[in-house]
């Protein structure tokens, strides 16, 4: 893959907006890899956390949006907890999810959730799941 980089990308307004929503500064990330190293779901992510940060630094928010990463993040905060720079990739990913959900789109429709699950699962899982996946 080749990424073309232009001034407009580096100064991307969309990334700035994401920074505002998430309260994070993507420049703070110095690409140490700790978040990818510690993220329990990293193995299943199309773009692991460290790379998410790099893509955003390069202004390549499009590829990050297309990846499954944000929907796999469990919000465990291991990334934030161990990031030497105090960056919360979790907040960035939440910001990306919010972008989608606030527009009313959903990752998972309520009707897709199996009924036995709804019946047996703890309320908190359902409430939280709705917050994370349903617009």
């Amino acid at each position: 893959m080749k990424i073309r980089i232009a001034n407009d990308d580096i100064q991307s307004l969309e990334v700035r907006r994401l920074e505002r929503v998430s309260g994070e500064d993507v420049k703070r990330c110095y690409q140490c890899g700790n978040c990818s190293g510690g993220c329990p779901v990293s193995y299943a992510m199309e773009i692991p956390p460290t790379k998410v940060m790099r893509f955003l630094q390069l202004g390549n928010i499009e590829d990050v949006r297309k990846a499954n990463t944000m929907w796999l993040c469990v919000g465990c905060l291991q990334c934030y907890s161990r990031c030497p720079q105090g960056v919360s990739v979790a907040a960035i990913l939440e910001g990306l999810r919010q972008e989608v959900l606030r527009k009313g789109a959903s990752k998972t429709e309520v009707r897709d959730v199996p009924f036995p699950f709804l019946k047996k699962a703890p309320q908190q899982a359902i409430v939280c799941g709705f917050r994370k996946f349903v617009g």
Binding site: G33, G38, S42, P48, R82, P84, Q85
Partner: protein, 657 residues
Amino acid sequence: MPRIGVFVCQCGNNIAATVDTKKVAEEMGKLPGVVYTCDYKFMCSSPGQEMLRQAIKENKLDGIIVSACSPHMHEKTFRKAAEGAGLNPYQCEITNIREQCSWVHHDKTKAAGTVKSIDLTRMTIQRLKKNQPLKKIKIPVKKKAMVIGGGIAGIQAALDIAEGGREVILVEKEPSIGGNMARLSETFPTMDCSQCILTPKMVEAELNENITLYTYSEVEKVDGYIGNFTVTVRRKSKYVDEERCTGCGECIEKCPFKVDSQFELGLNKRKVIYTPFPQSVPNVPVIDAPNCTKIQKDKCGACAIVCGPKCIDFKMEDKLVTEEVGAIVVATGYQNMPNERFGEYGYGRIKDVISGMQFERLASSSGPTGGEIRRPSDGKIPQSVVFIQCVGSRDEKKGVSYCSKICCMYTAKHTKLYSHKVHGGQSYVFYMDIRSGGKRYEEFVRGAIEHEGAMYLRGRVSRVYEKNGKIMVQGADTLSGNQVEIEADMVVLATAVVSRDGADTLAQRLGIGYDKYKFYNEYHPKLKPVETVTAGIYLAGTCMGPMDIPESVAQGSAAASKVLALFSADEMAREPITSVVNRTTCNACWDCVTACPYTAIEREAIKDRQGNVVRWVAKVNDGVCQGCGVCVAACRSKSIDLKGYTDEQVFAAINAF
């Protein structure tokens, strides 16, 4: 009425081209108190200076103004000339009509330049009228130095000062000098054995007649100023008479109790009466009192029984000694950040997670394993070792934000030592960047990778845990973009270099500055790298920040050369620009004391005949005061003033505006 002379310089055409010097002189002649004026082509030339001296004598001038170039250029010249004619040099003032007038106002009609020159000269004249004769401050210098800290930096400083023919007291808080370097195995970039190059220096320090070693000692109090420090040193009780001890080691042999060796970082035990390591200097054991059953419970006493010269004294007490020295070199070094702070790496929980310094001990031929790399848990030779760099360094959140500078290099060194000692073993290094600036340093690291087969992985480790008897290291390799996991037999943490516990206390005793990490501040990071803001106190080595041995040694030598330069004259002359307190009006608010950046102001008790304190006043220590004037502006009762820049002088200049 004062008798003032004004000399206006033309500087060839440099001034005269845009300033009417004649007019300036004429105008000044009209001012009260001005009895002589002239303008001349080159005031600083020999005839110019001679003319000035003549005029002073002939006209009995008691003050002169030279309106010429910047005082930074010729103030000294003219003050010296004035002194030659019997005038107090501080009765000579310079008006800068070249850099401030002729050279910056190019108006050929000479209007602007002349007007400004007249104004400036008039202001200087009015100021001069308030001048007081001043005398250079002469400070006698005691030509004996103290070096605090006996690591390689301190040893080097002491040796160089001694070599220069001056006496030195080397104060070391541990039972032996040597510092951290004594722990190292082989040293980058040349891989010479640390002990082999350090021991001769330690012995030299012990044998040099000019050096007095105070080991097991700490600085308790520092008074005085450059050339004249009085230092109180606590010589902790060793319970062994240093003078008589032959260093035979019988006592150590016979002591029945063992505790963890601090020197070996817990990898080994030592006796309760001990020397930290075999090559200790001085080779005199000390008793670790809290662990000695004789001292604590009056049982045992085995060491005293076997000691031939009978030098063990369980009743020995600490001694306070006072030393008068002219200069102090601080070389108290560094320590490593406690690894326990990083719970994710399991240090302290997982036995085979060790620190870089512990690895040095494993690799050292005089270490607990005799130089074989064996892991602490079961003594097995590890077949794969993971090295984690930047532990605590470059970590604003849980550690320190700076780079420790040496760990990239020593980690590369560790991989080399490992590959030499364990054939077939594989080392892995997690790094963020490789920092190997320095002569032959990059080649050294490349060598570890290309010739010794160390596998470098760019990324940080997130956690270390145990699984089926293996140590699992989970991290990222950011170059491939993936999470990675390695099964290791041993993990080595390259922990951050930090300042010593208690570094701040010592700094406060010395009156030197330190940064937020408690590393000591140099006067200027580039141009005065071994000086401190406190004149007469110098720095060397890692007490200032992370550095390696070559740098520490260079700084030791640099500090020594500063000390020797200071000691090259019997007294120091200082500009008399210092503050004075008006003792009658000072109301002891101590605002000046807090404001002074040099802690030059002391509290002085005024006593009556019976010796009762009736009042307190501020007192400026001329030896310490640098003449910044901050105190003057801080004093609300106008009780302190700066010689050479008194309120009167400044107001006179303003009023003449």
